[in-house]
């Protein structure tokens, strides 16, 4: 599904990604771990198309299509979803109207009719239940005044609504309390299917107890320096990252 080859990217003349390779197939879950400042969020930003990152070398394809050529909204419509490490507040824009707009943009791109208000509200109710998202937050302004954890859970609610092919979760677990972590994980597990794939960026092996990954990668200094199975996360928890340098 996703194929990243020799990816180099810079921001403000500083090279952050330095020849990164990653293959993700449909149905898989990949965890990416690594020290602070290694470039994990940068990778997520480059995949989602944040403008201030300049790709200097390499390629990224999603189901064979070159996504680096696409504007961020086109990537989203093609099925890339980034759950932000720091979700943005947009005052006065209601969460639900925002989602309706987003969903209909994506549907239009796929040649589907926009959803009627009724269909949409039905879907929203189902997904709220699926990821146990508080109905009160659905009608508030987008992330405005949400607690850190509520913001993270809203990302997962959006994920459930938009049903992307490839979901990248950038530290969605940070800031969640123990119950919320369990709820969010359960939600993600329910959303997993043969047709989609997840990249989980995390610092904590605990998340991987709930969402069991097929692969664990260590990203350090702009490259994947080690890949293993779930047990790699346990080993990292014990030994830290120094031994990999």
């Amino acid at each position: 599904m996703l194929s990243i080859k020799n990816l180099h990217a810079r921001v403000e003349d500083k090279e952050i990604l330095k020849g990164l390779n990653l293959e993700v197939k449909a149905g898989e879950v990949h965890a990416i771990m690594g020290p602070n400042g290694a470039g994990k969020s940068s990778l997520a930003s480059v995949l989602a198309g944040r403008e201030n990152y300049e790709v200097t070398e390499g390629s990224v394809t999603l189901d064979g299509k070159d996504i680096l050529e696409m504007a961020p909204e086109e990537r989203a419509r093609e099925g890339v979803f980034l759950a932000f490490q720091y979700p943005i507040e947009i005052p006065g824009v209601s969460n639900i109207n925002f989602l309706k707009t987003a969903l209909n943009e994506i549907r239009t791109h796929r040649g589907l009719d926009p959803m009627t208000a009724k269909e949409f509200l039905q879907k929203s109710k189902e997904k709220q239940a699926l990821v146990e998202f508080d109905a009160k937050l659905v009608n508030r302004s987008l992330n405005e005044g949400f607690s850190g954890g509520e913001k993270k859970r809203n990302e997962i609610f959006q994920l459930a609504m938009l049903e992307p092919k490839l979901a990248i979760l950038d530290e969605t677990d940070s800031g969640l309390d123990i119950d919320a972590l369990r709820i969010v994980s359960r939600g993600v597990n329910k959303l997993r299917s043969e047709n989609n794939a997840f990249i989980l960026i995390t610092h904590y092996q605990r998340l991987l107890d709930y969402i069991v990954p097929d692969y664990v990668h260590v990203l350090s200094d702009g490259k994947i320096v080690k890949t293993g199975g779930k047990e790699l996360a346990l080993e990292l928890e014990e030994k830290g990252y120094d031994w990999l340098k």
Binding site: E12, A48, G49, R50, E51, N52, A71, P72, E73, R75, A76, R77, F81, L82, F84, P87, I88, I90, P91, G92, V93, I96, N97, F98, L99, T101, A102, E105, I106, H109, T116, A117, K118, F120, S141, L142, Q158, L162
Partner: protein, 504 residues
Amino acid sequence: MENNTDTEFLESLADKEYEHGFVTNIEMDILPPGLNEDTIRFISAKKNEPQWMLEWRLKAYNAFLKMELPTWQNFKMPEMNFQGISYYAAPKNTPKYNSLDEVDPELLATFEKLGIPLNERKKLLGVKDDVADVITDEDGNVSERPLVAIDAVFDSVSVATTYKEELKKHGIIFCSISEAIQDHPELVKEYIGSVVPQTDNIFAALNSAVFSDGSFVYIPKGVRCPMELSTYFRINAENTGQFERTLIIADEGAYVSYLEGCTAPQRDEHQLHAAIVEIVAHKDAEVKYSTVQNWYPGDKDGLGGVYNFVTKRGICKGANSIISWTQVETGSAITWKYPSVILQGDNSYGEFYSVAVAKGKQIADTGTKMIHIGKNTRSRIISKGISAGNGQNSYRGLVSIGAKADNARNFTQCDSMLIGDRCGAHTFPYIDAKNPTATLEHEATTSKIGEDQIFYLNARGIDTEKAVEMIVNGFAKEVLNKLPMEFAVEAQKLLAVSLEGSVG
């Protein structure tokens, strides 16, 4: 951190064509440019006015001659050639049609094209097959379009007023001010100039001398007006000024919601619009006045556009009365207006909710004055300024608390949003408190539409144009929510259209 591509991106101003810039070709009676006593006599005679009205106009004209242009505003006052303006332009064969069938079809078509329904028959017959009678809000809720009575003013004259008969049943008077001078002289005489004195400022003096038409509303004691009242102003003729005058009187316990809209064709020279609105709210009365101002703003280099110098003021005369101003200002090359409330009655309440857009070379200098005189008077000011391109947006407000205004309260909030790096937002809040029991609160914020916000929406499949539209409408929501529902939807669209091309 400032990102270069994004700044350029935010600054690139591709100007969206002004939608209402077309010209109607219709035979007109136009007075040649120029201003002297004869001009005023001509207008007054054309309208068959009584002597007292002519004298009132001439008095204003004499005051006007001695007055100077104001200098305190936050922009360089353009040169005003008062002799270069035509002070009267009216479609031939007016005034006043007895039925809409007599109205020039070209005129009806003009208002049709502007989306102003002058055809009331359908509604009165209860025919509801027209799709336009049903409106859908952004959540998809469908409701019936509320009834709106409209007074349509084309250049200098009112060409049609709808639902007059229906309103008459409730004792409501809704007509052009010219008709009111003929048919209800005692009311006009009593109230005209009682809120905005002739000598208030030079534009008010000019208007008082040459006003051509406008709307008149009287709601009798205890009557709740059963529909929205609305005036729609259209400048069409070249080199003309529009000087309309609106007078709204709500007697004890009355209620009315009133909306004003306006457009003008696209022309290379500036046109002056110097209007006056006066509102009187007696004891327990409430008047809601909403404006959606979309005069031609000029092109992106500042060529053409309407100079909008307007004096709007209401007086809460009786106890417990309420006056509420809501304005969405997207048009005009220059907007200079400060809808104000004189809170004279005890426990009276004044409100000012405003969204002003300044893009391209537009200048908006707008705000309000809340004059607290009575006891326990309260006021609330919510101002949202949006600046893009080279636009300059100033909020100017005065909260004045008189010596006898015990326990007066004001809350003021001024939020500014900047789109790009070349525009500006300024606030000038003045306070003049002569009573120590007053409670005054002021909050102000300035924000930039952040690339973070845009990217977040992009990352959900929403393009930049739409993202800006959403962010701006979110920013202005508190004000838009104040508008009557169907106009809120219109105003949202208008905001989006007026900022189209401001980003990306």
